[in-house]
Amino acid sequence: MKTLSVRVKSVALMFLVAGLTTGCATSGETKDPIEGFNRAVFSFNDGLDKVVLKPVAKGYDAVLPNPVRTGVTNFFGNVADVFVGVNNLLQGKLTAGVSDFGRVAVNSTIGLLGVLDVASNMGLEKHDEDFGQTFGRWGVGSGAYVVVPVFGPRTVRDTAGLVLDVAADPVANLDHVPTRNTLAAVRLVNNRADLLPADKVIEEAALDKYSYVRDAYLQRRRSLIHDGNAPREAESQ
């Protein structure tokens, strides 16, 4: 565990740097000032996905029966709920935060280490929070859009959030390396498999996949920061 404090320190430094960059980036007119670079990384990520991740996710999806898939998603959802709760508290949403910790308590015990989402059936709703959203709540501007290699679409603010999310991630902090790696790989594949249906819809819908994904990401983050109640964007007519 002593590596954790070192990690947190370096993360804090990175956050500071990212925060400064955000300040610069928001002054620009366009939300995608480094589009050329982003498009290059996007097609790299897309290629990597096509060759490696997507085929694995497809196989995984085909082999595992639905109840098992749900159990895996629930397990990692429960692991994530700890920091969902922390972020709700950081955003001042006390009731939501307490409910998240209640979820972890219930699901880790009665829910057999999180495999069953008993808490949802009890009326404790699952939330979606991360450090990027917390910064957004605090009023940090989103900054420029950035496609991060391997991780995909982010904004400068959400990249800073991502660094904290990774540092706080219970899986990444496991001391037993083989367990850590196995869990991280399963989680990655499982998350990708959950997104398979969306792929086809995007292919069908997008004139230009890059800008379609970018604009969807930016809209989605905006909505999440407002907990699903974002004001409608101006119609600019």
């Binding site: 109840p67 800008s211 964007e233 007519q237």
Partner: protein, 205 residues
């Protein structure tokens, strides 16, 4: 006295509205209920028959949309650059694209149910948002919001937001950049090409 008059006139108004057309939330409820019932019973659609799904969307869902309004929103300030003919042609192509996207989404259907939130419609309101939630076993529910406006032919949907992502707004940037680079006709052509390429994909499947 005033409040009594207001009360009766609001009842009167409500009856007129009922007589003319369904309330927006009731409309969404009846259409989505009917469509899901068909999809649930149709193995072809569930196993990816987009043609059959598109037929269903065209018949049951599309008549409740105002595609001209949607296209206008997606074009933003560029809309006024287009003449009436171009506007019609754009709306036509955009309709094909949206119907196709919607149909593809329907073929991904697995045991979800839709929970439509009741709407407290105020008298005289002509622009509303109907909220709903897609519930799926073992996953977080997805927020699905419909935007409707009341016109001469009743309530029509002009936008849908899935998990906070507006289907219409999401095209704004790519439409704008297409218009910037090659004008209204360029955008029209890009949409036509996209729709045609979709055809070949559908046939290959």
């Amino acid at each position: 006295m005033k409040s009594v008059v207001a009360f009766f006139s609001s009842i009167l108004f409500a009856t007129i509205v009922m007589a003319n057309d369904m309330a927006p939330d009731a409309l969404i409820k009846s259409v989505s209920g009917e469509v899901l019932e068909i999809v649930r019973a149709d193995r072809d659609i569930q196993s990816g028959n987009t043609k059959k799904a598109a037929d269903l969307v065209e018949r049951k869902i599309a008549p409740n949309f105002d595609f001209l309004h949607m296209t206008r929103l997606a074009l933003g300030r560029d809309w006024r650059q287009a003449n009436t003919e171009q506007q019609k042609a754009l709306a036509n192509e955009f309709q094909i694209l949206l119907v196709r996207t919607y149909s593809r989404a329907l073929t991904e259907y697995k045991n979800q149910t839709i929970d439509i939130k009741p709407l407290a419609l105020k008298a005289g309101e002509t622009d509303v948002k109907v909220r709903s939630e897609i519930k799926q076993p073992g996953a977080k529910s997805i927020q699905l919001d419909y935007y409707l406006q009341k016109g001469t032919t009743g309530w029509k949907i002009y936008d849908i937001e899935v998990a906070g992502i507006s289907l219409v707004t999401n095209y704004r940037e790519s439409f704008a950049s297409e218009v910037r680079n090659s004008g209204i006709d360029g955008l029209l052509k890009a949409l036509q090409t996209k729709n045609k390429s979709g055809d070949t994909v559908a046939i290959k499947k």
